[in-house]
Amino acid sequence: MKYVDEFRNPVEARRLGEHLARRMALPELQSRRPVRIMEVCGGHTHTIFRYGLEALLPEGIELIHGPGCPVCVLPPERIDDCLTLAEQHDVILTTFGDAMRVPGSRGSLLQARARGADIRTVYSPLDALQVARDNPDRKVVFFALGFETTMPGTAITLQQAVEEGIANFYLFCHHVTIVPILKALLDDPFMQVDAFIGPGHVSMVIGMTPYTFIADQYRKPVVVAGFEPLDILQSIVMVLEQLREGRTEVENQYIRVVSRDGNRQALQAVADVFALRARSSWRGLGEIERSGVGLKPAYAAFDAERLLVAPSVRRAEPVDCRCSEVLKGQLHPRQCPLFGRACTPEHPRGALMVSSEGACAACHQYQGRG
């Protein structure tokens, strides 16, 4: 399979692993051990565990699994709101498959569907719009979630709904943005990360420039990377080169997809439809200012929040949950006392156990509880 198999070449992977070992033996890097590198994106976390990449890394390199799984950080009250919407008899709720298992305080969408709510998984917001066309006498709500990766798709779908005058289509919007969350982590005094592997798909949309503050103000290297095993290994090589030479720059490993300025058309659609909210809440991390978007007033007629009598209030997270320490690199998933016991993929207690891209769920799925 083109553009896939080339990046899964085991011989090349071993070669890169050996190269990393030689680099880590150099005195200028030996003194920095352990080098802690955070992969921001859940897709990267998934690749690392799926291919067992950590086994190829030399001693002295630690991967910290970051906050970039949009499903994991979905706060329970937003799921509760979706349940309230889906329970209205004239509503069809549509969303991505990943959102179906996320627990709210009254269970998941999957459980609500089993109780009879009309909830359908779609592969694209455009499929949700088609459901609206096919069911003119029902209100069709699309639960939109994700980082900048999925924002343009939602925006373009909404523009299309306006153009066609589809009045029974609504958006329940929980899109979030990557930069504020990175800034919040960097400002945390307990944060222990030396460099970042930047998110590939988000960067395809927003480009490279939004990360320059990490290199300039926080003096940490950033390498935007693709999602195949060799992409990740090569980006680690690039991170080590920066550390060795004392550079802090934003570099692009994923040149076959990401350009410096991102995708202008996509960004335009996003700017047309969405406006920053004052604050948004994140499972495991609390409220973060200007970290999520809602619909602009011009699109208010399509906002599913209008269909809610009152949005659910934020609930306190379980006190014994230590997701935020895992996210900051202070704790390995296995060191959490809940891991594999009170918190499992079937019954997640913390954010990182929710989706297979969360650090704890990936660790549990691919390395077991023991």
Binding site: A13, F49, Y51, G52
Partner: protein, 332 residues
């Protein structure tokens, strides 16, 4: 389609009896009467199994619910080492199902039964009002005979044994997903729905020490290998680079973030065999059309542990999990 005695009788005669055309059915008695002589001549134990078939959509590339209902039950008998002899079939039809579609499905059952050399000897039909069923449900039960000395059981797996799959993995699951969700992917995704009884007969005739066999339906190859590990108490290792997966099935997996090892198959079996006999058994399997892509994909480990490990393409090792409930695609 209407309810009512006369219409029902016509339905049975026109569609079912005309298509199946076996003397047991044609006699229209309340039960099939089966000569014991045939049974006793071919083995010393009966195998008896039942399964109900519900699938959306009813027809998919490479098969339909009828072919599935025959092959599924035939395969459940075959992987126990039994020669399938007789099937029953029960239909629950929702009012409004097009007669043409029902006919196509029943014809597929007839063809599948012919191919598997099994006879449909008794049946039942119910029509339920519109909204009280989902178009069509089929139940089939099957009787087969096991020859003396054939002992296939999952607990017999031993350290060092090899794990064999009879062909490409995940074809049925991917084809049904494509048909159901209209993924608009190009390339011919086809279900692998077929009988395994001929292949199993050939495998048994080699005299190889086959410890266990299962058909890899729901839950896929991953689920079967977990069953082997669980029953034998030994860890099992699979090798990612040896798994036969069609490029178009891989495409579906890549796009949706799913694993072909978790996809259902309807014409593939997984067998465990003594190491020394693995290669020639595979060579023999490849001579049968249902085993053309057979290969060794793993081994039983000495570790006393219920666990399936996967040696990844990259040379790392990880656990191969069982899917949690229904397979859901990932967004990024």
């Amino acid at each position: 389609m209407v309810l009512g005695g006369l219409a029902m009788r016509r339905l049975i005669e026109e569609v079912f009896l005309a298509t199946f055309d076996t003397p047991e059915l044609a006699s229209m008695e309340d039960q099939a009467r089966l000569p014991l002589g045939d049974v006793i001549a071919s083995g010393d134990r009966l195998a008896f199994t039942t399964d109900s078939y519900v699938i959306d959509p009813l027809e998919f590339p490479g098969g339909n619910i009828g072919a599935l209902a025959v092959n599924g039950t035939v395969n459940d008998l075959a992987v126990g080492g039994a020669s399938p002899l007789y099937l029953s079939c029960g239909f629950i039809i929702e009012e409004g199902l097009p007669l043409e579609q029902l006919r196509r499905i029943v014809e597929a059952m007839r063809d599948a039964a012919e191919q598997a050399e099994v006879r449909i000897v008794t049946g039942d039909t119910k029509v339920v009002p519109h909204g009280k069923g989902d178009k069509l449900f089929i139940n089939t039960s099957g009787i087969g005979v096991i020859a003396p000395g054939v002992e296939l059981a999952a607990h017999r797996c031993r350290p060092g044994d090899r794990v064999i799959v009879s062909g490409t993995v995940g074809d049925h699951g991917a084809a049904v997903l494509q048909a159901r969700e209209d993924l608009a992917l190009e390339g011919g995704l086809l279900s692998d729905c077929r009988s395994l009884s001929g292949l199993v007969r050939d495998m048994l005739s080699t005299g190889a020490d086959i410890r266990a066999m299962r058909d890899a339906t729901r839950g896929g190859v991953a689920a079967v290998v977990h069953e082997f590990s669980s029953a034998s108490g030994r860890a099992i290792r699979l090798f990612e680079d040896r798994l036969p997966v069609r490029p178009e099935v891989r495409g579906v997996c890549e796009i949706l973030g799913l694993d072909a090892l978790h996809f259902a198959n309807e014409g593939k079996l997984v067998a465990v065999v003594a190491a020394a006999q693995a290669n020639w058994l595979v060579a023999r399997m490849r001579q049968h059309p249902a085993g053309r892509d057979a290969c060794v994909i793993g081994e039983v480990l000495p570790d006393v542990s219920v666990q399936v490990r996967l040696r990844t393409l990259m040379g790392g090792e990880r656990l191969l999990d069982l899917p949690v409930g229904e397979l859901l695609p990932r967004i990024c």
